[in-house]
Symmetry: C2
């Protein structure tokens, strides 16, 4: 009917078809208002309803109690790399980071630009970031311990989070938030660019534990303070209204169509297992991440040669399986199988992989 | 057919119906890609085409030569209030501002938070910001002279820009860019939140003259440097793809349906004249801005009493004329008549005003 492909892009990524169809209906006349969802005032009752609904869904899905504030900001995770140390480490206290590659490395760089006392307490650089470090040392004097829960490029993901005691965990969860159940209690702050599991590009979800807000220095520019956005409920200035609307639709789909986070996790486990089990059963495709660190969101793999990889990606595209090229910094192939990728898409990919291996093995 | 109202909201504001209809078609399967416009990669050829088209349209419409770089950023004008002084005034040079209320005042506040040597060289605060100051003094030692070309709340607008000689002008043009022809040469930097004349909320247009980029200090956080976005052509990280797509559609409408900036200006002049000429012809409605400073974009007015204003706004809404409430900080009424408001809407508003005055005068 719609001739849609299975879209394995790493982000902006595939979205659930019902959310796209509902958004389409809102684009000229939203809820009989005579205005598009793009045209309604951010101070209107119509938008207030969208914003409150999105916040409530985030809280319900993640089991956040009143100690947490949910913010919608702009600038992506890349801006958060700077805002986290700016806001949460105003004094001379050291800030601890685990380096699992690319995004962690960038977060570390921004904290250093800001002159913070950065300690990289664990790293998997020794093996090209193909695994998640274990036994991460905890320093009780750290302002926070920063991790990146999932690495889209290396295809690695924390199976469980470090136990940091009284040190607040801060995590970039851009590529795996809402993919599985986890306990938010150890986290002082979580941030996520929306364009993987939360919605389209253009909005950043920030979840802050209220005690963290007490750390924001008074002399920061207004827009760079978490307190500004918390005090104004993300309405200090005009927010990215449409992106927030899409977040609400996407989380509605997760709650109502999927049935919540536990069910989503079961589906994601099943999807990832389909791919990894197949990869482990043969020799043509080789996964690049260490098995205990494999991501359920981004499955990275190599073929016997770069030529075959190119052929694989091209033929897959023609077969309606798009976005399988690995990140330009590492090459190879990658299947991003976020929440909105249906299991049928993963099955179709595995069948294609089998067929391609037979023809080229 | 679509039961759309005339939407006089100050932003997010009305958009041209053809752009909404085209966007609607892109929401499930964009250009036969099998993906929504919300799902395509920002690194794809499909998105590259959108981005290049939007940039080219900005340059053509404003007559920008190769000395200017066009950026699409996030965070709105409110973030630019801080980025301008951060990036353009790295040394001890003073920075000059004209205060025409609200947005100017906020821009001044952010420059002061950053510890800059701020000089308010002219202000209309003495008369509640109801006019644009004349004979603005120019200091040749200033790093820049900052103005706000249009004040949405007070309904004031510069008729012509100050002649600042070698001092680069910097202007917040959020609410009147693309509304009229102007000479860009004196401007070192122009910024505009999109949600009035450029597109939906969620993207900020920044136009920088290349010599300004040499001022950016090396030690700023990466996302806060104009140079980062200029060097990566607004693709340092995932941009707000859909909002940029809408900007391209809106500027396509301006170029192809309207016929360019001179024609847009003529229409805008006519729309504003309809309202102001009527207001000047009677005593029931009183314009709040000094006649020589009146905005063509935001027409602010009062009725004989606050009760009548409430009644006016409510009855207008029921008559399909929405968003006429003045800003909460000043009260009264306001008709925002940006580019996308058709002249038919303004005519309908004037007719309604006449009728309401007859019934309540």
């Amino acid at each position: 009917m719609t001739d849609r492909i299975y879209n394995f892009n790493p982000g902006p990524a595939t979205l659930p078809l019902p959310t796209l169809e509902e958004a389409r209906e809102a684009l000229v006349n939203y809820k009989g208002s005579g205005m598009s969802i793009l045209e309604i005032s951010h101070r209107s009752a119509l938008f207030e309803e969208v914003l409150q609904s999105a916040i409530a869904r985030v809280k319900r899905l993640l089991g956040l109690d009143d100690r947490y504030v949910v913010l919608f900001m702009q600038g992506g995770a890349s801006l958060q790399f700077a805002l986290v140390p700016m806001n949460l480490a105003s004094d001379a206290a050291p800030v601890d980071y685990v380096d699992t590659g690319t995004w962690s490395t960038k977060a570390i760089k921004e904290a250093r630009i800001l002159g913070k006392n950065v300690r990289v307490v664990a790293s998997s650089e020794d093996k090209e970031f193909t695994y998640i470090p274990e036994n991460i040392p905890i320093n009780t004097d750290a302002a926070y311990l920063h991790i990146t829960s999932n690495n889209t490029i290396r295809g690695t993901q924390y199976r469980s989070f470090p136990y940091a005691g009284s040190v607040p965990l801060v995590s970039d969860m851009s590529s795996d938030i809402f993919s599985r159940v986890f306990d938010p209690a150890p986290f002082g702050l979580i941030y996520a660019g929306a364009q993987k599991n939360v919605g389209p590009a253009g909005v950043t979800l920030v979840i802050v534990r209220k005690d963290m807000l007490e750390r924001t220095p008074a002399n920061l520019p207004t827009m760079l303070k978490y307190t500004t956005h918390a005090e104004k409920n993300s309405l200090y200035n005009t927010p990215p209204c449409f992106a927030i609307y899409m977040v609400d639709l996407m989380l509605k789909w997760l709650e109502e169509d999927i049935g919540g986070l536990a069910k989503m996790e079961a589906i994601n486990r099943e999807k990832a297992a389909l791919l990894y089990d197949y990869m482990d059963s043969q020799d043509f495709y080789r996964g690049t991440a260490r098995p205990d660190s494999r991501s359920w969101m981004n499955v990275t793999f190599r073929l016997p040669s770069a030529d075959l990889e190119k052929k694989f990606i091209d033929e897959a595209q023609k077969a309606g399986l798009g976005g399988l090229k690995g990140h330009r910094s590492v090459g190879g192939c990658r299947a991003s199988i976020y929440n909105a990728m249906p299991i049928q898409g993963v099955r179709a990919l595995v069948e294609f992989m089998k067929d391609f291996a037979t023809r080229n093995g």
